[in-house]
């Protein structure tokens, strides 16, 4: 869902987008990976992404995956949800790191461990690829009422509280 919100935000800025998740059975809590492309030109390829410019990790437990950083482009961006700071550069291809305790912010603002929207704010701040207001403006396409208000706060806090490191 966060990947789709991100795509919607890029559309507001006039970009072409394509985003899709990959998983097995439809159930909450199962492993899921999502791919998002944005471009000034129409996007025709329908493949998974093997050489990303940015990697967003929602579950810090995945940091132990040996292939986590495989294929990253040089000077790429890494966004991480974690209560801990990044003490060293996790991969030599990384140029920018953005760490935020999105789980804590989500529990405080949304009331549940749904860190995704907070990480979108962190993404906007760390990459500078799109405006915070584009993310905020597209959220009403997906959420409404009190849940919308709480997630808007979560996005804003992600934007403000992300710690951006440059290597």
């Amino acid at each position: 869902m966060a990947a789709r919100m991100l795509a919607s935000a890029f559309v507001l800025e006039g970009k072409s987008v394509a985003t899709f998740p990959m998983f097995g059975f439809e159930r909450r809590g199962s492993p899921v990976v999502a791919f998002t492309r944005f471009d000034d030109k129409p996007i025709r390829e329908k493949t998974q992404i093997y050489t990303p410019d940015c990697l967003i990790v929602i579950d810090p437990g995945l940091l132990t995956l040996p292939t986590l950083f495989t294929g990253l482009k040089p000077e790429s961006v890494f966004i991480l949800n974690s209560p801990k700071k990044l003490t060293e550069q996790p991969d030599e291809n990384l140029k920018i790191g953005g760490v935020v305790n999105a789980t804590r912010i989500a529990i405080e603002e949304v009331g549940r461990d749904v860190p995704n929207t907070c990480l979108l704010g962190a993404f906007a701040a760390a990459t500078g690829w799109l405006e915070l207001k584009s993310i905020l403006s597209c959220l009403p396409d997906y959420l409404s009422g009190a849940i919308l208000e709480r997630n808007l706060k979560s996005v804003e806090r992600g934007y403000r509280e992300v710690e951006v490191i440059r290597w």
Binding site: A7, S16, T19, F20, P21, K46, Q48, Y50, D141
Partner: protein, 399 residues
């Protein structure tokens, strides 16, 4: 017809695009039993009904077999009907699917393609298209989310045409398209109404309603049955040109068209041609462009209509080429090659004897990647220059 106004652009998935397409055609009756990866079609349609966007009668069914029987019956009573399914849902309605075409019921069904060998094969693949090859339906395969929406609208025009009166499947890759979200232009309601309006000027279809006895369906024996089959096949043949006509008209009104039965991409001066269907076509376009930049004269044919098979247009597109490569996302049991490849090989008398290479890739959510397609073009190119080649390649098995 007047040109359509610019529709609202929304970021929606392929599944939602299918539901929007159906909603814009205002079906009288719709039903769908949810299954991964198309459940969202049923959810969206129900949401449209709840929001009052359509007054479609949504029938709750206990399985896909009932779903197909419900829409077939409603269609025979004169209604416009829609359903959607995938994989095992499709297999579970196999008898009813054949009944729908035997009754010449113009049902429109969206299918998010998925593997079929066992209920745990929850992954994309086109084997379910192949399992429906001989059911007498019209089968269209599309490439992206916008094409899903537009093709569902066109499918109603085709299915309900008085000269056709056959059910139509609109196929899109499960996962790679069903969950792909892109910006999609949603036509305005009055423009969709205008596009479908010519159906109202045609003679009315025979209707099977209580109190008005009517014999219909392929139930007779001997010559009666034979005649119905003969007419069914003749109607399928008419559907080829009709699809081209409808696609052209859609393009004139909405500014988007898809080539009808097939789409040729950079084939005119091509020496070798790649044949693909579904989402892999988009990826193949980027590789064809890159190879062209390297000086390789390669073109691409997108197979959009699988049944009836676009024999004439394919032969025209492939005639005079030096070699062709066909990528299948399914297998042809008993031939050990791709099913679409197998069918294209049957066109040898029209095309001529040239190297034809079969590639099987992308089963069970495996990705048909850019390097895979580069490899195909390189091998087909070498075969065109007279080098020895392997007829059938299971790409991921040789990596």
């Amino acid at each position: 017809m007047a040109k359509a106004q610019k529709g609202q652009v929304r970021v929606i998935t392929g599944n939602a695009a299918a539901a929007y397409g159906a909603m814009l055609c205002r079906p009288d009756v719709a039903t769908s039993y949810p299954i991964t990866p198309m459940s969202e079609v049923a959810e969206q349609l129900s949401a449209f009904r709840a929001d009052g966007l359509v007054d479609t009668e949504m029938v709750e069914v206990e399985g896909e077999n009932s779903a197909m029987n419900v829409v077939t019956a409603a269609s025979m009573a004169g209604g416009r009907v829609f359903t959607a399914t995938s994989s095992w849902g499709l297999v579970f309605m196999y008898d009813a699917v054949q009944q729908a075409s035997g009754f010449r019921a113009p049902v429109v069904m969206a299918i998010a393609n998925r593997e079929t060998p066992g209920i745990l094969a929850v992954s994309g693949g086109q084997q379910d298209i192949i399992s429906m090859r001989d059911t007498g339906w019209i089968q269209i395969i599309v490439e992206d989310c916008q094409e899903i929406l537009d093709s569902v609208i066109m499918a109603f025009r085709l299915a309900e045409d008085f000269d056709i009166q056959l059910p139509v499947m609109v196929n899109y890759d499960g996962f790679y398209l069903s969950y792909l979200a892109t910006a999609v232009e949603i036509p305005e309601r009055e423009d969709a109404d205008q596009f479908l309006a010519p159906l109202k000027q045609q003679p009315e279809r025979p209707r099977l309603v209580p109190g008005e006895p009517l014999s219909c369906g392929t139930h007779g024996i001997e010559i009666g049955f034979m005649e119905l089959r003969y007419k069914h096949c003749a109607a399928l043949e008419r559907a080829t040109a009709k699809l081209d006509e409808i696609d052209k008209e859609f393009g004139e009104i909405f500014g988007r068209s898809y080539g009808g039965q097939i789409e040729e991409y950079r084939t005119e001066d091509a020496e070798i041609v790649l044949v693909t269907s579904g989402s892999a076509t988009g990826t193949a376009r980027t590789v064809v462009d890159a190879k062209r930049a390297e000086g390789i004269k390669v073109g691409l044919v997108k197979l959009r209509l699988f049944r009836p098979f676009p024999r004439k247009r394919l032969a025209e597109a492939l005639k005079g080429k030096k070699a062709i490569g066909v990528i299948d996302r399914s297998v042809g049991f008993g031939w050990n090659c791709g099913p679409m490849y197998m069918e294209i090989r049957a066109l040898t008398p029209e095309i001529g004897i040239i190297p034809m290479l079969s590639y099987i890739d992308g089963l069970a959510n495996l990705d048909i990647t850019i390097p895979h397609i580069e490899r195909v073009i390189d091998e087909v190119s070498a075969a065109a220059q007279g080098k020895p080649y392997q007829e059938v390649t299971w790409i991921p098995m040789e990596e």
